[in-house]
Amino acid sequence: MAQKPIWTSLGEFVTEGTMLAVELCFPGQSIPPPAGETAVACLQLDPAGTVYCGTAGRKAHVLAALLRGDTGMVFDLGTAPGAERIDALAVVGEHVCALASGPEGAAVWRWPRMARSFLIQEWTLPRHPAEKVCDVPGDGRTAAAVVSADAAAVYALTEPAGELLRIDTASWDVEALCTVDDEGRFGRALALDGLGMIWGTRGSGVIWQCGPGTGDLADVAEVPAAAGRAQHTQVSAWARDEGTGLLYGGTAPDGFLFRLDPDTGDVTGLGKPTRLEQVNCLAVGNDGRLFGAAGLEEDIGHVFCHNPAAGSLRDLGTPVSTLAARQYGYHFRCMLTGPNGEIYLGQHERVSHLWIYFPPVPRRVRRIQE
């Protein structure tokens, strides 16, 4: 048995583009929230470029990441009292609002939005108390939530009942639209299409859609699944391509990827992007490439890319950051595309960072003169 050197990587870490892990603090000035409270559960983008992060753990924080220009820090806006998870974030007027859940129930809390510049020196960063906006009926657990494009409504799916709620962000009235599955078999992810229709899955991999005002639920299509596995399959992540209007879905427990045309209900399987079980989150980049993260909480997760223009599907590897914080990233639950096409990834571990992925910009192909 010959000895061979083994201390080299095998291409298992992200192989294209650049990953950065950003500490959840003002580097050198503050420390992140305690470990065990920093698992990033949801992200939201402010028109001013601030990326808000909602966390899960012993306490649920809302963090404001100002990472552009002369800023470069993450500010802890505070915790949602009594909550253990921020389920969704919405920028409504001058506030960032958080749907938060915990043993004491679910509620919406809000803070003034955070938009600053010139934080390279001499800053003033006041912290404001959380303001409760409304209670959310139910038993306090939210399986999934999605915010309408105009932030006029938050749609939340309760757990275990599977009741779809509409939270009006003007009146803060909460309306029960429907129950998506009487037996409690439904996907823990929601999507909105360009018309504001709500999409999800239930039962044996059935894709439903629901009108935002009516609560009328209609079964539209079936989720692509391994043969005989439809009964176990739900969509665990959605993303919408604003350019084409198409929806992308990733599944649990088998981790397949598909495309859904919301106008026709046509579903196209795109394959299995990694060898891991579950797709956790998806985001469509500015150029139409789809990025995603896969893997269970117990896993060493991977990120992947589907390029619809090339028809390619590629496992990009395990996130690792050697600039900014030197970290491995193993489990991600949420993803967001930034204004410049950068992809934000919410790490969901006991010790977590906000990650930024800068996908590679393809080199132009030189045209050869005939």
């Binding site: 048995m1 061979k4 095998l10 298992e12 870490f13 470990a35 030197r326 010790v351």
Partner: protein, 413 residues
């Protein structure tokens, strides 16, 4: 620093086939004899064996074939139970020596293994760390079985009173709690990215390790909670503290404080009083090595300190390297004797240090000492990692008087 005539150690090679390439763990057993891990970290299909120094025959004997104890043949094709990495834990009460395995060797027939790339590959991946309980009174393996699923055990500590083992896993760097009665293990979550190489307990049964920023992390068994403390492993001011994870930690004979070093270049010796105040009190006892070119990223295999052990005389001993000036930026992995491996004796009351002995391997430097132990006669032993082969352990005669001089027993790896 004072210098006297240096003692010299005796080297005992690991003589097996395939030739083991490292000794990542060494400890005094509950019986006062020295146990060492004969590891094959780079050998496809290589396995780990636990050897014991027989002080009557002055030789090494194999006491545990871990593959056999675990019921996992080395030719399975999966990454093997190839080493024990800072994961011996001795129980004085019942005479059991616990050992948990670590990963890195490819399966037989494989040329490469990556715990990241091969994760959950049911034909290639490391299935789990294995825990073996060896009864040193009856000289037999009591039981062995799965420990940490899919990951290796980087370091291990025993709380005998609560009947628990604590561990840090690799590569995910999670903190684990194992109940010896139910043989159930719990994952308490992630610590960081680079493993701490040491985990230890205080007299109250609280558990300490570090994250990759050199921050001390404490587990309180009463609150069942991990907490990052505002306490840092000391380091050079010009460095950030990143990678200053704990490397080797030894308890004072009184048990009221620990001495340790980080796993990083430019290591500083530390003394930590875990029961002093709400977060304990950390002391920086200074750099253990010479000044060097700060623009060079020095190889850890050169700028290394390990093998911390208290002698029967109450002094602290640890192994350092001394190298020709400038060597750190030229050829740090030269397998010759241009660098010295020195055992330093420190009076912990005055902090005075003395070069005490040279820890050598035949024809090679032996300064990457992983762990050290003190046997029942007060003699000191050191586990070697550096190449070339063979690797093995060194023994240093200490001329101590009395027996049962291995006590108090070290209960972590």
């Amino acid at each position: 620093m004072t210098t006297t005539a240096l003692k010299t150690s005796t080297f005992y090679p690991f003589e097996r086939e395939p030739i083991p390439d490292s000794c990542w763990s060494l400890t005094a057993g509950p019986d006062g004899r020295i146990y060492a891990a004969s590891c094959c970290e780079r050998i496809p299909g290589g396995g780990v064996y636990v050897l014991r120094y027989d002080d009557e025959t002055d030789s090494l004997e194999t006491v545990i074939d871990v593959a056999e104890a675990a019921g996992e043949p080395l030719d399975s094709g999966r990454a093997t139970q190839c080493k024990i990495h800072y994961s011996f834990a001795a129980s004085e009460g019942d005479g059991i020596l616990y050992a948990a395995t670590h990963l890195s060797a490819p399966g037989l027939g494989q040329s490469r293994y990556s715990p990241w790339a091969d994760w959950k590959d049911e034909r290639r991946a490391f299935p789990h760390s294995t825990l073996v309980a060896y009864d040193t009174r009856r000289d037999e393996v009591l039981w062995g079985g799965p420990f940490i699923p899919r990951e290796g055990c980087r370091c291990l500590a025993l709380d005998e009173r609560r009947g628990r083992l604590y561990a840090v896993s690799y590569p995910r760097d999670h903190f684990w709690v194992y109940d010896l009665q139910t043989r159930a293990i719990r994952d308490l979550g992630r610590l960081g990215s680079v493993n701490s190489q040491a985990i230890f307990t205080d007299r109250r049964g609280r558990v300490f390790t570090s994250n990759c920023s050199g921050q001390i992390v404490r587990y309180d068994p009463d609150a069942d909670r991990l907490e990052e403390l505002p306490v840092r492993v000391p380091h050079e001011p010009r460095k950030s503290g990143w990678h200053d994870v704990l490397y080797d930690v030894v308890a004072s004979p009184e048990g009221d404080c620990v001495y340790g070093v980080p796993w990083n270049s430019d290591p500083h010796l530390l003394r930590y009083w875990p029961e002093d105040g709400p977060h304990g009190r950390m002391e920086n006892l200074g750099a253990v090595h010479q000044r060097r070119d700060p623009t060079a990223a020095v190889c850890f295999y050169l700028d290394h300190c390990g093998g911390l052990v208290f002698g029967a005389d109450g002094a602290l001993y640890f192994v350092i390297t001394r190298w020709p000036e400038g060597m750190e930026s030229s050829s740090p992995l030269r397998h010759d004797m241009t660098s010295e491996s020195l055992l330093v004796r420190m009076d912990v009351r005055t902090l005075e240090k003395t070069d005490f002995a040279r820890i050598e391997k035949p024809g090679a430097m032996g300064h990457y000492v992983s762990r050290a132990g003190r046997d029942r006669w007060g003699n000191l032993f050191f586990g070697h990692v550096t190449r070339p082969l063979p690797t093995g352990i060194s023994r240093l005669e200490m001329d101590a008087e009395g027996d049962n001089l291995h006590l108090p027993l070290r209960t972590w790896g």
